[in-house]
Amino acid sequence: MKKLLGLLTFWRAVLVILLGLGLYATYVRFTQGLGAATNLSDQFPWGLWIGFDILCGVGLAAGGFTLCAIVYIFNIKTFKPVIRPAVLTAFLGYLLVIFALLYDLGRPDRIWHAIVMWNPSSVMFEVAWCVMLYTTVLALEFSPILFEKLGWERPLRFVRAITIPLVIVGVLLSTLHQSSLGSLYLIVPEKLHPLWYSSLLPVFFFVSAIGVGCAMVIFESFMSSRAFKREIEMPLLSQLGRVLVVILMIYTIMKLQDLADRRAWAYVVTPNLESMLYWAEMGLGVLLPMILLAIPKVRLHATGLFSSALLVVLGFVLNRMNVSITGMEGWAQAGYFPSWMEISVTTMIVALGITGFALAARYLPVFPPAEHEAKTMEESPHMAWAE
């Protein structure tokens, strides 16, 4: 118990430090402008906040729509127990993406302009609308968890009644949105390194998002099982690991086909920073976890499954960073490395996300109660709140 408390205080301290640094950077950003807080420049206008906070943030939220589709559309009810954490991640993810956007936009006070000033030829316009609409959908998909907690029967019944249309709209919006983040880069064929520029970018972004969505569900279930001392839904998650193998396989084949079509093999074997990072992304983040997860022994073992999922997540992050930063640096000929303030805003946002998830997981019915816990709760309903 004492050890646990000590651990808790440790993480609290970390959280406080991250918040402190982040808030200071926030202060500089909003009183002195982007130039003072970031290393962005005319040569390199998009940095960490777009590359990580937006591109990765949205991708890591992909578990929400993936699982909703699996459970509600394909009617594979086995996955129902992990749908809530996935929707929660997606909802939090999107809220944080909007939050991060306020930092990156030069004029955050005009964020609403996209609602009234339309330019449908712009991918960014599509992104803006998808974020708005899908966040609304996610709020609705998440609301039953809250209504249950509050015991609000009528709104609960209403949201349940529109589940299917909601899921369909959600899947469509996600498909558009995940791929349109890739489409953002279609316009820069002469700038983005040929290892990453492809007319299939939107498709790659979409498929890899589905993959990372599954990986995130595994990852979170594992983490929360440790944090809350819950039993892990191993058979279920292994099953998800199997799905992941298939998705990674599809992704790999498409990537290879694309390299062949574009005759871009030479870039893969030219030794330089770009190809190194490409190898890291594909080798460690796609091929390795694909092989690992294909081995039943690994897949059925908690640590093996968890580490493989973690690799997929890291590979995904690396891919988005490669597209948005590494792949653009060569052309811009402007070395960009995020300033400490950019980094601390990002870490603050990640910390807020983790905290939000932990709080929701603790106080809301997000995870299915483990057997023994359910019993204790039955025996003394107040137990759960006593801690």
Partner: protein, 253 residues
């Protein structure tokens, strides 16, 4: 109004910087001798050695990438050529900067309420029938202003009459779908820092291809998802019903 344009003949430029100064005066920008485009310099003159000087300025593309990517439509291409920026719309996403193939738009990074800055082709002067300030200031005729078609003809004439003087290329005629600023040079353009890997078609076509699929994705995808759900879940229900019937029969027996 006929489409206006500028022809910049690099072989005639002496690097005096009068175009830059005139531009600064015209647009009320602080004086300075910048060599890189920035928020205080809509045009600059870059020294490439051996008396080769290259002006940099917004190309005022025929199908401007900046206008196509801006989510709120802050950029517009006017009928007479200029590509204008409307500050009051801009949300500061900087996609225009990321997307412009010539790396033209710049940003007032040090301001709390920053804005994009770039050459505006002196559109107010154009409206009065005047040439751009830089063209008017140029003492050697390196930068000339005129009707787009006439300037193209002029450039072609120069290439035809003095083929040994120039590389045989009017830069800006076809690059990324063409622009309203053309360059002639004695040295291959890629050696002067001009992007040489631009397609002949306008870049916005690349995203149009993707965007035009959206209605399809929504319509076909929506129907397909609904259909899938209907079929799969119906099978479920039918299964349940059959199970129930069977149960009833079993009981009867």
């Amino acid at each position: 109004m006929a489409r206006k344009a500028m022809l910049i003949d690099i072989t005639l430029c002496v690097g005096c910087g009068l175009c830059r100064d005139a531009c600064k005066e015209q647009n009320g920008l602080p004086a300075g001798e910048e060599t890189k485009l920035n928020a205080n310099a809509y045009t600059v003159v870059q020294d490439h050695g051996n008396d080769v000087f290259v002006r940099r300025v917004c190309m005022h593309c025929e199908v401007p990438t900046c206008a196509s990517v801006c989510p709120v439509g802050a950029f517009t291409k006017t009928a007479d050529g200029p590509v204008l920026y409307e500050e009051s719309k801009c949300i500061g996403c900087r996609y225009c900067m990321q997307a412009c193939p010539y790396q033209v738009p710049t940003y007032t990074w040090d301001q709390v309420a920053p804005r994009v800055r770039k050459c505006i082709f002196c559109h107010t002067r154009l409206a009065e029938g005047l040439p751009t300030a830089c063209a008017e200031a140029c003492p050697t005729g390196a930068t000339i202003f005129g009707d787009r078609e006439e300037l193209i003809a002029e450039a072609q004439r120069r290439l035809r009459e003095e083929p040994e003087k120039y590389v045989n290329h009017i830069y800006g005629l076809n690059e990324a779908g063409g622009s309203s600023v053309f360059f002639l040079s004695a040295i291959p353009f890629e050696q002067l820092g001009f992007p040489n890997n631009l397609p002949d078609h306008p870049l916005p076509m690349l995203t149009w291809n993707a965007l035009s699929k959206i209605p399809n994705i929504v319509a076909v995808g929506g129907t397909a998802l609904y259909g899938l759900w209907w079929i799969i879940n119906r099978r479920d229900e039918v299964g349940k019903l059959q199970a129930k019937l069977k149960e009833m029969e079993d009981r009867k027996e």
